[in-house]
Symmetry: C3
Subunit: 214 residues, 3 copies
């Protein structure tokens, strides 16, 4: 996953994640600088969590393009807000592409670190999904991840397919392409056909209150 | 703290913490996968924070039993929800045992890292209590820890007794047994007799609003 | 930034940050121990995030004065609450001094780690501002940082001036003094003259709801 093609996808993913953060921030009456910060943590939060867990230097310290791309995303929002927020399908697709790519980047980094496959899948999911969780926590919302299941689950599906491909001796680039496509497809199909996991309902206990919060 | 006995306690603690996360998640209309994630971070969040601070590999990367135990906890919830949520006292005891064990594990790891006693006590408290804090933050609640004092304070009490035992040259296993028992006892007694620390009340200032939020 | 003068400033900053945490906690009906914890994470949260990102031992593990100072802050609050919460301007100044000093400490540590200037500025900002963010998240508020822009932006301004001074070959201590003063001045002037960045407003889309939260 190197070369100009990947770099372009990486920047598209970063841009899309930053926009998703800035859009949600705009609902909460956050100022411009706050919107930039929310966009930034949405874009780099997942990779930062992964790098801390892997004990390597956080990726954004090594290249200023993530800070700059987030700045471009904020500028674009300020200049073309009306249009940008209407291009939902385009932005959703960007976001899905970003999710797919970020998941594969997370898995690759973990494979290089010699970790077992299930840790690699967890790391791919963390890379793809934690940025949005931090965004939601900062904006004081229950994370979307917990309510819209087919987000993190798409990462898990893509990660599983990744190791299935490796098992059947597919080449690295083909494996990456297939796994990223699975993440994107699962995400798109789940949204298009409104596929959800069942909700876990609480029960009423005899003593009247719903759950003992211990 | 090795051998089958400890492993069993460790799994019981993980199971109880995971259940406590899943139960709270069920109140918030989270789906199954979201409930799994909340259960998982409740169970492994404290140890992960400790390992990041100690700069060692997060414990759950080295053994898949924590992910699997959380899966069993979710399955058990789905199958036996009515019963499981009624066994409050049993679950509370599991949770207290888990808290005691996790605190001691955190202290032991910090002692091995050569840290001073007060850092070790802090690490034991972090190991025992942070998982529940992350659970509450993700579910958009003010952490229970801040409102039900005798949670983290039980860890601090157990940790203090741990170093008192070491000071009086008790054997390691006896020290661990006593310290873990103190955590569990403080927790049980505080709950049974409704013992709380006083609440810090805000004051009204002359200018009308309560506190300057700077 | 060594010697008795710096240590004093460092303790004043820690004390002021701890008080700001404890004050906000008092509005939320938190108990004494919870207030201590909120005060502590407000005071040490930023430096801890920085040290995790820099992969060095968190600073508070090496010196108990941060835990002790927070204890003094809690005691002072319990004893002199009426007075302490009225001294808003004094406390605000303490807080601004703490912010300035913490920012410089963060930049210095990052320069020593050989990081590029824009990472150093980010690290200074993280050191100064993240403690308050964690405080607000734990107390279930949208972080002040996102609403009162001239907080983190003061750190960015001070950091930028820091590297301008270095560029013009000013001595280290003069550079630190000027940069810290800039942070404090920007903060004070912004508050005094009610200077804010513009708020990013959301737009209404054709489909009725405000933003697609993907």
């Amino acid at each position: 996953m190197e070369g100009i093609f990947t770099t372009t996808l990486d920047l598209i993913g970063t841009f899309a994640f930053a926009i998703s953060g800035i859009r949600l921030a705009s609902v909460k009456q956050v100022d411009w600088f706050g919107a930039y910060i929310i966009g930034l943590v949405t874009a780099i939060g997942g990779g930062t969590a992964r790098d801390l867990l892997l004990d390597v230097t956080p990726f954004w310290m090594l290249d200023s393009k993530y800070f700059l791309t987030t700045g471009v995303a904020l500028l674009a929002t300020l200049l073309f807000k009306e249009k940008l927020f209407k291009w939902r399908n385009t932005l959703f697709l960007f976001d899905a592409v970003g999710l797919g790519l970020f998941t594969i980047v997370g898995i690759n980094k973990s494979v290089e670190a010699g970790l077992p496959f299930w840790v690699c899948i967890a790391m791919g999911t963390i890379t793809g999904a934690i940025g949005g969780v931090i965004r939601d926590v900062l904006l004081n919302e229950v994370p979307l991840l917990l309510r819209k299941d087919i987000y993190a689950l798409a990462c898990v599906a893509g990660g599983t397919v990744y190791f299935a491909c490796i098992h059947f001796n597919l080449s690295t680039s083909l494996t990456e392409l297939i796994a990223a496509s699975i993440v994107i497809l699962v995400r798109v199909i789940a949204l298009k056909f409104h596929i959800h996991l069942p909700v876990l309902h609480s029960i009423k206990t005899n003593s009247g209150d719903q759950v003992n919060k211990t």
